[in-house]
C-alpha cells in the first residue's frame, strides 16, 4: 500500500514538473470536494452556504449578462492605474531616501508616520475631498502600494555593498550611470518584494474601497449581493479574488523574481 502511494506520488511529481499549471490546480481538488460534500449533506441551509455547482452556475450567468467581465475590468484597471503611480513615485523616492543620508533624515520619520495611518483610515476625508469615484479609489491604492515599495527600495539600496559602488566607479562609471548600473539592479530583488507586498495590500484596499465607495468592481459586486441576499455571488466574489491574486503572483511576479534575483543568486530559491 505504502509503495503504491509513493509510486502515485512519483508520477504526480513528474507530471507537475512537466506541466506546472497542473500542480497549481490539483491541490484545490480536495478543497472543492470537501466543500461539495458539506453542502450536499445539507449541514447548513443552502441559502447560507451554497455549493460549488450553484456558484459555478452563478458565474456562468454573470459572465453571460456581461456584469462580471465589466466589473472585473473595472477592478483590474483601478489596480493597474494605482500600481503604476505607486511604482512611478515609489521607486525614485525610495532610491533618493536610500542614497542620500539627508533625504533619509528628513523623510524617514514622516514616511513611517504616514505608513501607520493606513489606507482605509484615509477614506472618510478622501470622500469629502474627492467624492465617490475613481479619484478616491486611485489615491487609496497609490497610497497603499507606495509604502511597501518605498520602504523596500530603501532597504534594497542600502543593502548594496559599498564595494559594488567603488568597483563601478574605479571602472570608470559616472555617478549618473551608477544609478542604472548598480543601484537599480542591486535593489531590484527588494523592489520586487515591495511590489509584491504593495500589490497584495493594494488589492485588499481596492476591494474594501469598492465596498464602501464603489459603483462597480468585484468589491461592489460582493456588497451589492449582500444587499440582495445572494450568498452565491458573495462566495463567487471571494473565489475570484483568490484566483486573480494567484494569477498576478504566479504569472507576473514570480517569473520576474526567477529571472532576476534568483538567477543572480541574490535571493535563495
Amino acid at each position: 500500500m505504502k509503495s503504491f502511494l509513493l509510486k502515485i506520488w512519483g508520477h504526480y511529481v513528474r507530471l507537475t514538473a512537466r506541466w506546472p499549471s497542473i500542480g497549481s490546480i490539483v491541490p484545490f481538488i480536495p478543497l472543492i470536494a470537501a466543500w461539495w460534500i458539506v453542502t450536499a449533506l445539507q449541514i447548513f441551509p443552502s441559502v447560507f452556504l451554497p455549493g460549488p455547482v450553484e456558484v459555478a452556475r452563478s458565474f456562468g450567468n454573470l459572465v453571460y449578462t456581461g456584469v462580471l467581465p465589466e466589473y472585473l475590468q473595472d477592478s483590474m484597471v483601478r489596480l493597474a492605474v494605482g500600481t503604476f503611480w505607486g511604482i512611478a513615485l515609489g521607486i525614485p523616492l525610495g532610491i533618493l531616501v536610500g542614497l542620500s543620508p539627508r533625504a533619509h533624515t528628513a523623510l524617514w520619520p514622516p514616511l513611517l508616520f504616514f505608513q501607520a495611518i493606513g489606507d482605509i483610515a484615509w477614506l472618510p476625508i478622501l470622500v469629502i475631498w474627492f467624492g465617490y469615484g475613481l479619484t478616491t479609489m486611485t489615491v487609496i491604492i497609490v497610497y497603499t502600494v507606495i509604502f511597501p515599495v518605498v520602504l523596500n527600495t530603501v532597504l534594497g539600496v542600502r543593502s548594496i555593498p559599498i564595494n559594488m559602488h567603488r568597483a563601478a566607479l574605479s571602472l570608470g562609471a559616472s555617478r549618473a550611470r551608477l544609478l542604472w548600473e548598480v543601484v537599480l539592479p542591486g535593489a531590484l530583488p527588494n523592489i520586487i518584494t515591495g511590489l509584491r507586498n504593495g500589490l497584495g495590500y493594494g488589492w485588499r484596499a481596492l476591494i474594501a474601497t469598492e465596498i464602501i465607495v464603489g459603483t462597480s468592481g468585484i468589491g461592489f459586486l460582493m456588497f451589492d449581493a449582500r444587499r440582495a441576499g445572494s450568498v452565491v455571488e458573495i462566495l463567487l466574489g471571494m473565489i475570484i479574488l483568490g484566483i486573480l491574486w494567484y494569477i498576478v503572483d504566479g504569472w507576473i511576479l514570480a517569473p520576474i523574481e526567477r529571472a532576476t534575483g534568483q538567477r543572480w543568486g541574490l535571493v535563495t530559491r
Binding site: P161, N163, M164, R166, A167, A168, L169, S170, L171, G172, A173, S174, R177, E181, V182, P185, G186, L188, T260, R263, W264, G265, L266
Partner: protein, 252 residues
C-alpha cells in the same frame, strides 16, 4: 612614465567613541615604477587597506600627496583598477559583461568590448564561464574574473586589496601562480596589499613592510621568474627573504 608616487601620505580621523584623533597612516612615502609589482605587507590594523583606499580615491587623505603620472589623485577613476577581497563582481551581469564593464563605461562599442573581454577571459582560462553569472562560479573563479575585469580596462596601476584572502589554500596558490604569469605577459603596474608574508614575497619585485601606519623597510625581491610554489617552497633565497620580512613585521 606612469609612475605612482606617494609622498608623506597621512590619514587622521576623529574617533567619535574615543573622542580623540587617531592616526591610521603616518608619513608613508612610496614609489611604484611603471611595470613594477610592489607588495605592502603588514598585520591587520596596520593601515595597509587605508593606504590602498586613499590611492583608489575611495576615502580622502589628510596629509601628503598621491601622484599618478604626475597628476594628483582626486576620487576614484579608471586609471586605477581595483581588485577587492570581496570580489565585488556585479551579480546581475554575466562574467563576460562584468569584464566588458570598464570598456563599456569608456564608450567602447559592444562588438569591440566583447572582443576585449573574451581576450582577457582567455588569459585567465575563463572562456567556458563567459555566459555564466558570478553566483554560479566558485570563489577562485570569481576572483579570476575580478582580476581580469580590472585588467581589461587597462589601468595605469592595478590596486589589489588582499584579493586571495577569502579563497581556500590550494586555490590561493594556483591564483598566485596565475597572477605572476599574467603579470609577466601584460606587465601591469601592481600595488598588492596582503598580510601573508610568503604571498607578498612570492609575487613582488619589492616588498614594503608596514606596521602601525609606518613604513618599516623596503626589501628587493631578486627571485627569478617565472615563479612557482613547487620550486620556491624549498628555495633558500625565498626562505631568507620571507624570514626577514616576517621578522620585521613581527618585531614592530
Amino acid at each position: 612614465m606612469k609612475n605612482l608616487v606617494i609622498r608623506n601620505l597621512s590619514k587622521t580621523y576623529f574617533d567619535i567613541y574615543a573622542g580623540t584623533n587617531v592616526t591610521a597612516v603616518h608619513n608613508v612615502s612610496l614609489n611604484v615604477q611603471q611595470g613594477e609589482f610592489v607588495s605592502i605587507v603588514g598585520p591587520s590594523g596596520c593601515g595597509k587597506t587605508t593606504i590602498l583606499n586613499m590611492i583608489a580615491g575611495f576615502i580622502p587623505h589628510t596629509g601628503g600627496e598621491i601622484l599618478l603620472d604626475g597628476r594628483p589623485v582626486n576620487g576614484p577613476g579608471p586609471d586605477r583598477g581595483v581588485v577587492f577581497q570581496s570580489f565585488a563582481l556585479f551579480p546581475w551581469r554575466t562574467v563576460l559583461e562584468n569584464v566588458a564593464f570598464g570598456p563599456k563605461m569608456r564608450g567602447v562599442g559592444k562588438c569591440q568590448r566583447e572582443k576585449i573581454a573574451h581576450e582577457y577571459l582567455a588569459l585567465a582560462k575563463l572562456t567556458e564561464a563567459a555566459g555564466r553569472y558570478p553566483a554560479e562560479l566558485s570563489g577562485g573563479m570569481q576572483q579570476r574574473v575580478g582580476v581580469v575585469r580590472a585588467l581589461a580596462n587597462e589601468p595605469d596601476v592595478l590596486l589589489m586589496d588582499e584579493p586571495f584572502a577569502s579563497v581556500d589554500a590550494q586555490t590561493r596558490m594556483t591564483l598566485q601562480e596565475e597572477l605572476t604569469r599574467i603579470w609577466q605577459e601584460k606587465r601591469p603596474t601592481v600595488l598588492f596589499i596582503t598580510h601573508d608574508v610568503a604571498e607578498a614575497v612570492f609575487l613582488a619585485n619589492r616588498v614594503v613592510a608596514l606596521s602601525k601606519g609606518r613604513v618599516l623597510e623596503e626589501i628587493e625581491v631578486d627571485l627569478p621568474r617565472p615563479r612557482s610554489w613547487e620550486e620556491l617552497n624549498d628555495d633558500a633565497r625565498f626562505k631568507e627573504l620571507t624570514g626577514r620580512v616576517l621578522q620585521l613585521v613581527r618585531s614592530a
